[in-house]
């Protein structure tokens, strides 16, 4: 047979095979769904990292053993296509029962396609029976009381998600190489010890000719470290700028104070922060600021860098990829008694505000609502979440769980001080753009701090003001939307005077509106803008 005829035939055959497989899967799913004796709970998420699927799988099998007749199907979806996949599934009526929320799930999507979980989270989790958590409301069994992350939606005044984990940022290190090069040297307790370790690694590499850098740098993880270092230097400055007496810097207030000249880039503490942050650049591979997350990961797992800064979510993947023992420590900071960088700092910052993450919502399309809630209870019981943490290597979201040794280094440190002002003044998109576009200069050893200040001085004020006006517009959008919600609650309260929920929701909405309008009014006052365009 001629080659020209074989190739199309192979193509058509492959197409037919794929199509047949797809059809078989669709029909087998329909058959399974149609089986009255079996309940199938489908769960979808974008956590493709090693360990997470194993953990959910392990819990699913445990649950199936406890509940014969129930089958759990897991459906991991790549992060890049997750929002569009989610939308298609929800609109098409083919959504799984449980879906990780946070990407592509705005308020309207949640209201339309997901079940509010408020009535459930106010009751105890039955799977906690016999434990110290037994008498607690389900929401009180989570480290953040479900107040953070994607669990509670303040505009909708309902809980929509139940989280499995939380995340922290750490300096990971290659234990095998660490011991080989540094012997019994413990992880650094402060910034000077960290610098000493980095310099020893550099000396070792120079003397042996090995290609080994102290840190695998990238435009992904290194700026976090830099911002933390600046934050450490500006703790006392933040205290001096605490005009509203809340003992914690608020990004909007900080930006506004910058825009109105209450503080400048010449503040000695901020200058110290810049000086400190740029020092870490000399410990990373050359040209690291052009490297992305994957490049840095590659460097690290290949053993060409001793350390890397990233979130706790990467730990299972690193363990799967790296042919060496792995551990982690907190990002080191200068102590208050540091002769050069101690003046502006109170000490290590607290991680008590770490919110929960990886929250799952129940879809309205689910035909087994009570079973799904039961499975969620099981996943987030003290025992279930402990299993999740042990198998996945991720932090648990539930309180009073003893952390597995591999997870222990990522445990949020609750003691410590409030962090100061970071490099991204106010944290808005325009400031972020200015900072990102000048990372090269920040970490360039040939550029002095005064020049970096000059660059920021010329670009930051406009960016800060632009971000503040964007914040004002966002406040207007929020409060405008809440107007209709308030009207609905007022009417519903009139229809159902005995229903305390409508009173609570009306009160909460009005309070939320007031706080946003108050801050908006202050921004406009300080920027001397009499009226704010929508």
């Amino acid at each position: 047979m001629k080659r020209e005829k074989i190739l199309p035939l192979i193509g058509f055959t492959l197409l037919l095979v794929c199509f047949s497989i797809a059809l078989t899967r669709v029909f087998s799913r329909q058959r399974a769904a149609a089986n009255p004796d079996e309940i199938v709970i489908r769960i979808a998420h974008w956590q493709l990292e090693s360990g997470i699927r194993d953990a959910i799988d392990a819990l699913a099998r445990d649950y199936e053993r406890l509940h014969p007749g129930v089958r759990i199907e897991q459906n991991p979806i790549p992060e890049r296509i997750y929002p569009s996949w989610l939308r298609t599934q929800l609109v098409g009526g083919t959504a799984p029962d449980l879906i990780e929320i946070g990407k592509g799930s705005d308020d309207e999507t949640l209201a339309r396609f997901f079940v509010p979980l408020t009535e459930y989270v106010e009751l105890p989790n039955p799977y906690n029976a016999g434990t110290s958590l037994a008498p607690l409301r389900w929401r009180d069994t989570f480290v953040d009381g479900l107040a953070g992350g994607d669990s509670y939606k303040p505009n909708l005044l309902e809980y929509y998600g139940v989280p499995l984990s939380m995340i922290t940022v750490r300096m990971y290190y290659n234990v095998t190489e660490w011991k080989r090069i540094l012997g019994d040297t413990p992880p650094p307790a402060d910034y000077d010890a960290f610098v000493d370790i980095c310099e020893r690694v550099q000396k070792h590499a120079a003397s042996t000719g090995e290609t080994l850098f102290p840190i695998a740098g990238s435009n992904y993880g290194t700026p976090w470290f830099a911002s933390s270092l600046i934050g450490s230097q500006t703790q006392r400055l933040a205290g001096r700028l605490d005009d509203t007496l809340v003992l914690k810097p608020n990004p909007i207030e900080t930006a506004l104070q910058f825009a109105t000249g209450r503080w400048t880039l010449d503040e000695p503490d901020f200058v110290n922060g810049l000086s400190l942050a740029r020092q870490i650049g000399r410990f990373a591979q050359p040209g690291f600021i052009q490297a992305n997350r994957d490049d840095a990961t590659f460097y690290f797992v290949q053993g060409r860098a001793l350390m890397i800064v990233t979130g706790s979510w990467d730990a299972p993947s690193f363990r799967a990829l790296a042919p060496f023992e792995l551990s982690a420590f907190r990002l080191p900071m200068p102590s208050p008694d540091h002769p050069r960088f101690g003046a502006g700092t109170y000490g290590l910052s607290s991680e008590a505000d770490t919110p929960t993450s990886a929250a799952f919502g129940l879809t309205r399309a689910s035909r087994h609502r009570e079973h799904v809630i039961d499975f969620l209870h099981f996943l987030t019981s003290q025992k279930g979440n402990s299993t999740f943490s042990r198998v996945s290597g991720w932090l648990p979201s539930v309180v009073d769980i003893e952390l597995p040794p591999l997870v222990k280094p990522f445990e949020p440190v609750l003691d410590g001080h409030v962090n100061g002002i970071g490099m991204d003044v106010g944290g808005g998109a325009d400031v972020r753009r200015v900072v990102d576009s000048n990372l090269g200069a920040l970490f360039d050893a040939n550029v002095d701090v005064a020049k970096i200040q000059g660059i920021l001085r010329s670009q930051l004020p406009d960016a800060v003001r632009s971000d503040l006006m964007r914040t004002v517009r966002q406040f207007v959008l929020n409060t405008a939307r809440q107007d209709t919600l308030v009207a609905a609650q007022i009417i519903l309260r009139g229809h159902h005077p005995d229903n305390a929920e409508h009173r609570r929701k009306q009160s909460e909405l009005l309070e939320a509106q007031t706080m946003q309008e108050l801050r908006r009014a202050w921004i406009l006052h300080e920027l001397e803008v009499p009226d704010s365009p929508r």
Binding site: F19, L414, V418, E511, P530, P533, R534
Partner: protein
Amino acid sequence: MSRPFPLRLLPGLVLLAATPLPAADSPPASSPWDQAALGLFKDAHASFAQQAAAADREARFGEAVTLINLQPKTDTNLDRAASLLTAIAATDATDELGVSSRYYLARIAQIHRASPDNAAALRIYRELAGLSSPHALAQRAVVHVALLELFDPRLAPAEIRPGFDRLAARGATLTDPSALRDFHLVMGDAALRFNLGETIALDHLLAADRAGIVRATTQRDTWVRIAELARRTGRNDVAITYYRHFLDKFLRDSRRLMITERLAALTATQPAEAAR
């Protein structure tokens, strides 16, 4: 010789694959007000608009308050909403729906129009505030008057204090817990920001707390502010109480260490209080 691929089967396969799935894009809530409460403004608006009786003031009110959030936001929709609200208020300007309609006319002018008209909004808010009505939105109008008057960047510094005092007197008549709370939150914030006196700021924030703060985020910041203001003004008993409230309720907050240290310093100077 190979047989050609049976292309005539393809249309059948394509049709099979394209069999439509049941749509799930239907509103989950039953009544239009429930839909509106869930933020499903389009569905709620369609339901209200179908309730044909023009004399049904509540349905027309529903139509108006959902129109103001229909996307895309247009002047035509806002004009129609304003017209509906004006008609409702014309029937009776002081009953439940009349007051609500006037309130939303002010909101349209202040928040919803592309070019806000704060003067028009302020005029309506003042009228509503002047009613001395127990209606929640009439009392809430006082909060908006405070926000618009005190934070107007054109206000000369010398005018802030008299304006603040006038508003404080008006606020004394509020009875609705939400309006009372929000009014004192605004006044406390203004007193602090415009340097009108830490004692005055403290008293307003304490009044707000007594009225009932419901959001944890507002509560934790307000309690810290109360404690800090109390410490600075020498009302150590109040400071100790609120530092303790904070530590008891907010078990995970990065301010705990600082607050614990401040509480320890205060209780060290007040042994009797420390023994409590």
